[in-house]
Amino acid sequence: MGTSFGRGGATTFQQDLQNADCLLIMGSNMAENHPVGFQWVMEARERGATIIHVDPRFTRTSAVADIHVPIRPGSDIAFLGGIINYVLQNERDFREYVVNYTNASVLIGEEYEDTENLEGLFSGWVKDRNGYTFNSWQYDGTNVHGASGQRESQESLAKYQGLNPQEMSKLEAGMPPKIDRTLKHPRCVYQILKRHFARYTPDMVARTCGISEEDFTKVAEALCENSGRERTSAMCYAVAWTHHTTGVQIIRSAAILQLLLGNIGRPGGGIQALRGHSSIQGSTDIPTLFNLLPGYLNMPQAQKFGPLAKYIEDEGGKTGYWGNMDTYITSLLKAWYGDHATADNDFCFALLPRLTGDHSAYRSILGMQDGAVKGYFAVGENLAVGSANSSLHRKAMANLDWLVVRDFSETETASFWYDSPEIESGDLKTEAIGTEVFFMPAASHTEKNGSYTNTQRLLQWHHKAVDPQGDARSELWFYYHLGKRIREKLGDDTTEPYADAIKFLTWDYHTEGPLDEPSADDVLREISGWDAEGKALNGYDKLKADGSTRCGCWIYCGVYKDEQNQAANRKPRAEQNWVAAEWGWAWPANRHLLYNRASADPDGKPWSERKKYVWWDEEKSQWAGYDTPDFEKTKRPDYVPPDGARREAAIAGTHPFIMQDDGLGWLFVPNGIVDGPLPTHYEPSESPIGNPVYPQQSNPGAQRFPREWNPSNPSPSESHGDDFPFILTTYRLTEHHTSGAMTRTVPQLSELQPEMFCEVSPELAKLRGLEHGRWATIVTTRTAIEARVMVTGRLRPLQLNGKTLHTVGVPYHWGRKGLVTGDSANDLLPIVLDPNVHIQEDKASTCNILPGRRPRGRAFHEFMEKVRSDAGAEVTP
């Protein structure tokens, strides 16, 4: 979403879903995984909205939806592309919105060539590097900077592959040089889109997704009918869009569609990303991610080593809010290195470690397998159950020197060395594992102060209710005291590499209580920042590049506004409108519905009375409305940037996407996505069929790691291609949470879903002799697991080009610890990743299924050897 709109967060907030006239839930089983958020969907339904659920399985969401479309796992882009095509062919787009607020009218350079001409690839493909160069995707006459919004999702791989070492030059004055507002020019984005998606006809969609044309048309029509001036449609997605090798491009498809329909920045519209963990949004905003610094600033690259000024030039834009990069990074460095950071020493910029490539989670695990990674912290994460190919993870952990596990109870990650399928089968032996393991009991959220950032970018403070017992401690305590200890141990020893980075660090939060718990409030204040006088900053527009301000995360600047912890705001809902601006604090600047300038027409008037939200108040000469305007408050709608305008001044009064260089919503992404400027249907990495849309089978840019312990199932074209004839898809249940570490330890939840099971259609059950309630073994080249069989009509075989395709559904909550135990679905999956964000493909791979339980002990080892050798899937190291 960052690439399309400018920020990597949900564009709307959950309460606003009630205002939608049509809701497309796709890539999400919202009723099951976000039941309380789903109340707003039900509100919308009861107000007359059409609820559409597109999902391979008939779930509890489908049960209450008006329309359920059971598409084949991994065919999302084909489906959405079909709707895009439907909109374009029938000219159902919201033309006034599209012309003014998106880059539809911008001309793309002549060098650009589409997948239509290149058999499923775009121009710029470099075969031996497995990646694209972006040069040919640029706006005609200039280059736009791709550094928009969610920078985690961009550039990384291309950069590490060295394909685009030179940053593109920056857009001048925020206006693309060549545009055709009639949208007729063959090289304008609108026409390119039209040609690119022309292939996605209803018939093609039906054949690719395994659905009927009628179902497809019903959905397309519902969305079109419920979009425009008077009506808006919203979309909700979750990890069933991201858990694909084409994850980012699926979301891009949704963004394109919502821009064409004019649904972004408007009430009842938008795209709601539904995130699965209490602070998963927060953990990317303030990232425990390798490639980012707080506020989506890129970690510096070794390849681009240079002074701070160079970093600012490389990473910032000239126009739009990224033009203020200098103030963001300087304030961050000041927050971290305090008085040690001065203009003279480049604010200690050199003390930041540099990246040399992809250091993402799966890379680290492979590094562990290879022996390069020796120490590991697993903090509230249970990789032995929760990660794809968890078997590889467990085996890799046996190569560590030391492992620290912080959790509430002993997880499968903590116990891998004495209790795991590998120990059971003899592949690992306890006495032969040299890993030193520290299990550190963690404090729960009731035992500490702190803030979570929820799925709608809202920071909410939780107050400590009781002290943690025994050795249980918060992460705040653990990292603060670990840092202090390390500092003490190093003392004045200057032989330690880069000792200054540790010594200069501001690390002096005040502690409280008998446990010496560092003050979370203190930390939040540092995140929000203060000025030269030490007074809390009220917003990121106050940040300075001269070192006079400190701010730990610029997008959170203002969360400590007026010296008040704004995240702890709790004005009851009854006392405010549905936006609830005084409940918690939403980044950025307490804006709840992003790009809300688009809720008004170019002149600043509401598109319609029904969809009024933010508008230009001529009398007061400022933007007014129900929410904080996501626009400069006093910038007139008719503002035209003067020549040479920089930063936000370069954004026109009619351009709502203020984080983008040009202030426009990007239908076509000229820079920033490594696997193409437009979404394209590729088959999942493991698929039982050939790509019906293009000759190119799967995402050419996907990250694959063919190696020992990570074999791929043979595809249909290879020998033994029929060994794994079924589609495997994994998911969550309402009653459990991810790896089960927080729910299989709870009696009242364990009883609700006590056993690992798999869901199959009656047809597949008959085909394979599976009996309801009995056992089945699910097999891939990675491993085999057993599960109770649930034969259900909620799964249907798909008909594709005369071929019948069956899907096996497995929840992934079980492991060997806890009150209820079972085999782990993630053991089955390969490590194969989306090239943009390094997320694995969980939702669509292949498998086989057999009746009965799996073999035990050594017999299991031999069983798997045979499976692999039969499939020719022995990958030697």
């Binding site: 009723a31 099951e32 039941p35 309380v36 789903f38 109340q39 039900m42 008939f58 509890r60 969401t61 489908s62 049960a63 209450v64 359920h68 059971p70 009927s212 179902d215 249940l733 309402t734 009653e735 009696p747 009242q748 939840l749 364990s750 009883e751 609700l752 879903q753 006590p754 056993e755 099971f757 009656p762 309801h772 309630g773 109770r788 649930m790 259900t792 009509g793 909620r794 249907r796 009150l819 209820v820």
Partner: protein, 273 residues
């Protein structure tokens, strides 16, 4: 006989509280809004401090709780209707079942200890400190709601969160319900709401029907009402429940006849000798 019935009804029973009598409270569970999340089950167990009921996979769709009983006072039923239906017409019905808090409550009538009482809110509550676990209420209930609490040796069922009601709070399940499928309120008002809701959803949902709203039925209507999407028995509910005490006078008469026959037989046996 009608006098007898009147005395056993909710109104007469709550009236025993005199000035402390409150409006009769109940539930309206609208299954058209249920997403089968089971929050009600858990919220209920949390508030009422009920233990888990065993970790057993049933294969009854997503229902692993099976039934209402002594330690499960809310129970979500799952009904899959796909076989024999064409694509796109399959249904997955979910319903959160609970004690009906009948107007004429069988359990209350038959309880021999007075452990079961009609509260001032018109609800039916088992007093755990009084119950001796005779188990009569289990069979006295025409809805199969009550069960034994193994560890305590008493029986248990929904109290409509009597303790919360006293504190002015709504029952835990209704509060937790994410989609407002479980609605709490005054019974008269809920009954009206249910009628309106049925009208509103006719045509939108096949098979929509009310359950428990008919105050003339065999239990005099219930305090927990439902909007169902199929026949009650599909959800495991009795289609025509009758409070067993409806025919109690007849039963005592029959016992009188039996006793008379016994005496007659005795006399006959003795006299002829």
């Amino acid at each position: 006989m009608s006098t007898f019935i009147d005395l056993t009804g909710a109104a007469a029973q709550s009236a025993t509280y005199g000035a402390d009598e409150q409006q009769r409270m109940g539930f309206f569970t609208d299954t058209t809004l249920c997403i089968g999340c089971k929050a009600c089950e858990v919220a209920c167990k949390e508030w009422n401090e009920l233990p888990e009921d065993g970790y057993e996979f049933t294969g009854w769709s997503y229902d692993n709780t099976r039934e209402l009983n002594g330690n499960t006072w809310r129970h979500v039923t799952f009904v899959e209707q796909f076989s024999g239906r064409s694509a796109g017409t399959g249904r997955w019905l979910m319903e959160s079942d609970v004690c009906k808090h009948c107007t004429h409550a069988g359990c209350l009538d038959v309880c021999p200890t007075g452990a079961i009482m009609r509260s001032e809110f018109g609800t039916v509550v088992i007093q755990q400190d009084v119950c001796n676990g005779c188990g009569y209420c289990i069979v006295g209930c025409p809805f199969g709601v009550i069960g034994l609490k193994e560890a305590e040796g008493t029986t248990g069922k929904c109290t409509l969160c009597y303790d919360r009601l006293k504190a002015g709070e709504e029952p835990a399940c209704a509060k937790a319900c994410p989609t407002d499928s479980i609605q709490f309120g005054a019974v008269d008002e809920l009954r009206e709401r249910a009628e309106k809701r049925l009208e509103a959803v006719q045509g939108r949902f096949d098979g929509a029907q009310l359950y428990g709203t008919d105050t003339g039925d065999g239990v005099g209507g219930t305090g927990s009402m439902f909007l169902l999407l199929d026949k009650p028995e599909v959800y495991g509910l009795p289609p025509d429940p009758i409070v067993p005490t409806k025919d109690l006078p007849q039963m005592w008469r029959a016992a009188g006849v039996g006793a008379a026959l016994l005496v007659a037989a005795c006399v006959a046996a003795a006299v002829r000798a």
